[in-house]
């Protein structure tokens, strides 16, 4: 296995992009990534696309060749692989592309993530979003995605003394950061009081604890680290790419206050990257629901179980604080186009490590982590990225 580097990054606006189609945003992200490296499309030998539910959202399956085709590359006939792992489809596509380059089978590949979610009404969108839970034994009994995360939140409060305000702060942080990201779905700041007073969705979670449905795409160009300098001045090394899985239904997990797949994926990633979580001060974490963000802080090893809430209220977490999370705005403010989330997280870490994050730049970071999960945690994928000095 050889070392793999990120050579280019691209991202579209996230939000309600009614004037833009799935194929348009996919192509825009891919070409932006290519343009930001010194590669051209003739250098590529494969395309990977993370996408969760194009069949349900836009009645279009087989999106691998579709995006390749409209990128003008149909004549090259190279493989285009659509990857699905629920809301972790983006990071899963990256994990597959990473393996393809690491193995030596491919030299240069584009890996994108895209989702077009606002071509369906909100209630239909919520039903599609619920398709990553167990349809037979959760959804049939009235479970929504928010309600499952709410069940985890309530038990976290019971077992660990976590307060409602603790996870509400995750949404406040996301919006603070999103206000500085021109590509974010939401660019307004919100107060803690606003989160607490928002309309209830599934107690204790309210409207502002829940990430929106967004359209958007993001993409990366990968290649072997050994020749990376030929194609970019600032290659970013993929130091670890680790996937872990668990029971699909929340009720079957060993402990609903821990996403064990995240614990395991993170542990494997730290071993592979030879780094301790205490040495990581920059992360993009999966917070489709605010409580998920709080749990990720613990499950990734940044805080012991039951202590992330206090760290949040003590101000240890925030841009430029001990730990910077979701400088992009996270899922809550940057937005949540399912298949694009895991790739956009990596795009943001690459910007930060290259010093290209503009008003949200955090100084002096050599390493960053991304955390993307599917469903309520049946899949977790952790990537560790480092500068190349």
């Amino acid at each position: 296995m050889r070392e793999v580097a990120i050579l280019g990054i691209g991202q579209t606006q996230f939000g309600e992009l009614w004037d833009r189609s799935f194929r348009e945003i996919g192509i825009e992200a891919g070409f932006k990534a290519l343009e930001s490296s010194k590669l051209s499309s003739k250098d590529l030998s494969a395309l990977y696309i993370g996408n969760m539910a194009s069949g349900a959202f836009i009645d279009q399956e087989h999106v691998g060749p579709l995006v390749l085709d409209y990128s003008g590359l149909a004549g090259h006939h190279f493989p285009s692989v659509r990857v699905e792992a629920g809301e972790a489809s983006g990071a899963m596509a990256l994990a597959q592309a990473y393996l393809a380059v690491a193995s030596g089978e491919h030299d240069f590949v584009v890996v994108g993530g895209a989702e077009k979610m606002t071509d369906v009404p909100d209630d239909r969108g919520a039903a599609i979003a619920s398709s990553t839970m167990d349809q037979e034994w959760e959804r049939v009994f009235g479970a929504s995605m928010a309600s499952l995360w709410a069940l985890a939140a309530r038990r976290h409060m019971i077992d660990h003394g976590t307060k409602r305000e603790d996870f509400a702060r995750i949404s406040v942080l996301d919006h603070e950061n999103g206000s500085k990201n021109p590509l974010a779905h939401f660019r307004n700041k919100i107060s803690l009081d606003a989160v607490l007073a928002a309309n209830p969705v599934s107690s204790p979670l309210g409207m502002l604890d829940c990430a929106p449905f967004s359209d958007g795409a993001a993409a990366l160009v990968l290649g072997p680290l050994e020749s990376a300098r030929k194609y970019t001045d600032t290659p970013i090394r993929i130091a670890a790419s680790q996937i872990a899985t668990d029971f699909v239904a929340l009720m079957h997990r060993k402990d609903v206050t821990t996403v064990e797949s995240t614990v395991v994926a993170a542990r494997r990633a730290y071993q592979r990257a030879k780094i301790e979580p205490s040495k990581i001060h920059l992360a993009e974490i999966h917070d489709a629901y605010s409580i998920g963000g709080l749990m990720a802080l613990e499950d990734l090893g940044f805080y012991r179980k039951g202590t992330a809430g206090k760290a949040l209220s003590d101000g240890e977490i925030g841009n430029g604080a001990r730990l910077t999370i979701n400088s992009s705005g996270g899922l809550k403010a940057q937005g949540q186009p399912f298949g694009a989330v895991g790739i956009a997280q990596v795009v943001e870490i690459v910007r930060q490590l290259r010093g290209e994050a503009g008003p949200r730049q955090v100084s002096g970071q050599e390493v960053g982590l991304t955390h993307n999960i599917g469903g309520t945690g049946a899949t977790s994928i952790v990537h560790v990225l480092t500068r190349v000095n």
Partner: protein, 141 residues
């Protein structure tokens, strides 16, 4: 959900049909054909024994749902819970005939046969288990 897809699980959804591992004695709901606990889990393949849950359990976690899941719009606000059954498995289900303010962890509940939802305006009606507080459970707080 199509008629056949719902119908084929009625034994479980109506009668709480479960399965038990002959190796480690753990009980699973819904029934599993392979035990996830046993280290040589292939040993349990084809040997899992059918059994039935008593319907008794306690509330492990709970939420009041205001933004309904698809098809449950007429029921909001409704209480959804994780219920730890007496035999061991955890189930996801609604708690009915209760003021959401009265729910807390540890309350004893019993499964009750209810209408879950209608499959659209002209589809079949789905039935299955929900949970109700054991007599007097809420009053004891």
């Amino acid at each position: 959900m199509t008629v056949a897809r719902f119908w084929r699980e009625t034994l479980r959804r109506y009668n709480l049909g479960a399965s038990k591992c002959p190796e480690c004695q753990a009980v699973f709901f819904p029934p599993r054909s392979v035990c996830p606990n046993c280290s040589v889990h292939r040993k349990s393949l084809t040997k899992m024994e059918a059994c039935q849950l008593s319907g008794r359990g306690v509330v492990y976690s709970y939420t009041t749902v205001h933004e309904a899941a698809d098809g449950f719009e007429m029921q909001v606000p409704y209480v959804l819970a994780l219920v730890k059954m007496a035999e061991g498995p955890m189930l996801t289900g609604q708690i009915v005939d209760v003021d959401p303010k009265d729910i807390r962890e540890g309350l004893p509940v019993r499964a009750t046969f209810r209408r879950l939802r209608a499959d659209g305006d002209d589809g079949v009606i789905h039935y299955g288990y929900k949970f109700a507080l054991e007599n007097g459970a809420a009053a004891k707080k």
